[in-house]
Amino acid sequence: MLRRSLNPVAQDGFAVPTTLLMLIAAMGAVSVGVVASINTQRGTVRDQGSKSALQLAEAGVSEALLHYNRISTDQSHPCKPVTSTGPDAQGWCPAVTGTDVGGSYSYQVRATNFSFGLAGTLEIVSTGTTSNASGAGRRVYVRGQSASAQQIFSNYTVQMGDGIAMDSNAEIHSTAGTNGNFTLASNALQCGQASVGVGHSMTLTGNSQYHGDTGCLQSGTVNHDEIALPAVNQGDVVTNNDNGRLFGQDLISGTTNKVCFNGRRGDGSTGTCGARHLDLDSNTSVTLGGSKYSFCKLTMSSNTAIYIAAGATVSIYFDSPESCGYSNGVTQLAMDSNARITSTTGGAANASLLFVGSPSLQTNLLLSSNTNIGAACEQNFVVYAPRSAIEMNSNSTYCGAIAGRSLHMDSNARLYSSAAAAQFSIPATHAHFEVDRFIDCSAQSASPPSSGC
């Protein structure tokens, strides 16, 4: 009896303090892990929020681009694609807000550089704010450029996105700019103001020379200007064109069965050329009198020519390799053996070759034709191929303006510009803005919207 009554007293003596000690020890051990975990989790939440906010900001940019690429605008209503209210004094349209997964976004746009009523530049500042615990926000600045109706060649009549390489006595007598490097070797000659990309340079080796004037008399300094070469928007030219004029109204000179287009020869027989492929062979020529043509490929060989009819202004659009069913590395323009494209009465701006190209499949242009017969210009046309690599060689002399992804000149090729080519405007189709600048802005919000970007 007595033993039984004493036992609880004995147990009280060490159970309570021991339990307290254990609890304190356990809490201490757990709290270290909890604190460390909380710190890590806090960083994780902030990281997730930051990334989510960036995605939301980009959602705003995508929405703005989509609206401006689908809804036409003009100088009197620059905000029409996104809001009915006009812009402020600095040209910025009122903020447009929206929501997406994980938060909200707000963006403002400014359309500038109008030509023939079409904007050439679109600036977008978009802020994304996440709805998670971090409440993180990110602001981005995006600039888009459109080629439609723009005078692309006003600053430089030779423009290349990735770089210019000249070799073997090649000469450019024109202003020339690239966003990449400019390399001259083996007696190559650049006469005219040159520009290279930010962080890039001009390299002169093997007696090559650079002069700042087209007369090759003065020394020059190299600019670091930004070259914008937006993709070609061909509009509805694939279905609405003058291809039907071939060869009924646009007549062949020479043996008609040596000219082929769209699977048919000039004499009406079946040819081996593919869809929208114009193939001229051996001493033939075609005179184009329409205004818009849609080709997939143009091959000219052995003393062939394309003439532009008197008074005509011709734009030849070359469709994308995907639409034409071509594989990577296709040559969409090949001129060989004394081939020439020239206007019978007009200048270079009367004939333009516009290449849609592809962001994923490489396309090439080969201009080599041995036509250096002493005259100033055997070729008179404008080439705008911002996604294509251009190769010029074999003693050719070209007059006009050329833009591409890259240019390699070799074997005594010569390139001259003309005032008319410098004033050439890309045909005015619906604007298609292509992003050429992205900046992660520093501050959350600012006035004007692009401040801090």
Partner: protein, 182 residues
């Protein structure tokens, strides 16, 4: 006379006390060991947390600079040189509210990475500033589709771990959004 009272004064027996003492020592010892281990681990936990945070800050800055990059003049596993927009009044100078193109070079050697800002052509470099320490590998950068033509830059920061713990690896990457313009 008072036999029951005398019997009440009986204490614990010696074996009971010894057993209670041994049990108490075991319990208290276990508690002390746990507490001691926690105190001992705390600095390591804090170091790991700081390492993760340091790596996060570095990757956030790097991904931002890569994302708005124009070109990559140098691309190796331990060095990334990128022409990108930087919020500076001049390359290597004081911070500014507007972005200008500068060449930023990250070099990772002997457990740490430094950052140098220079003119876009690489001239006039500013001072090297350490951005990450405690790395176990200097091979931080990898490139897609290739180092000769980098369009996507991947970065991996690996930190050592003590006491047999797993090492810390913080990984991120970004596409050069302005690569087509330069």
């Amino acid at each position: 006379m008072n036999a029951p009272a005398l019997r009440d004064e009986h204490g614990f027996t010696l074996p009971e006390l010894l057993i209670a003492l041994v049990l108490s020592l075991m319990v208290v010892g276990t508690g002390v060991m746990v507490f001691s281990a926690a105190v001992h681990t705390q600095p390591e936990q804090q170091r790991r947390g700081e390492g993760i945070q340091q790596a996060r800050t570095a990757t956030e800055r790097l991904t931002q600079e890569v994302r708005q990059g124009l070109s990559v003049p140098t691309a190796t596993s331990n060095q990334l040189s990128i022409v990108t927009y930087v919020n500076s009044a001049s390359c290597g100078g004081a911070a500014s509210n507007s972005a200008i193109p500068c060449r930023v070079t990250y070099t990772c050697t002997a457990g740490s990475c430094t950052r140098v800002e220079a003119l876009p052509n690489g001239l006039s470099p500013g001072p090297a500033r350490t951005v990450v320490t405690g790395l176990t590998s200097s091979a931080v950068f990898s490139y897609l589709p290739s180092s000769a033509n980098p369009k996507f830059v991947n970065m991996t920061f690996s930190f050592s771990a003590g006491n047999g713990d797993d090492s810390i690896t913080v990984q991120d990457g970004a596409t050069l959004r302005n690569a087509g313009t330069s």
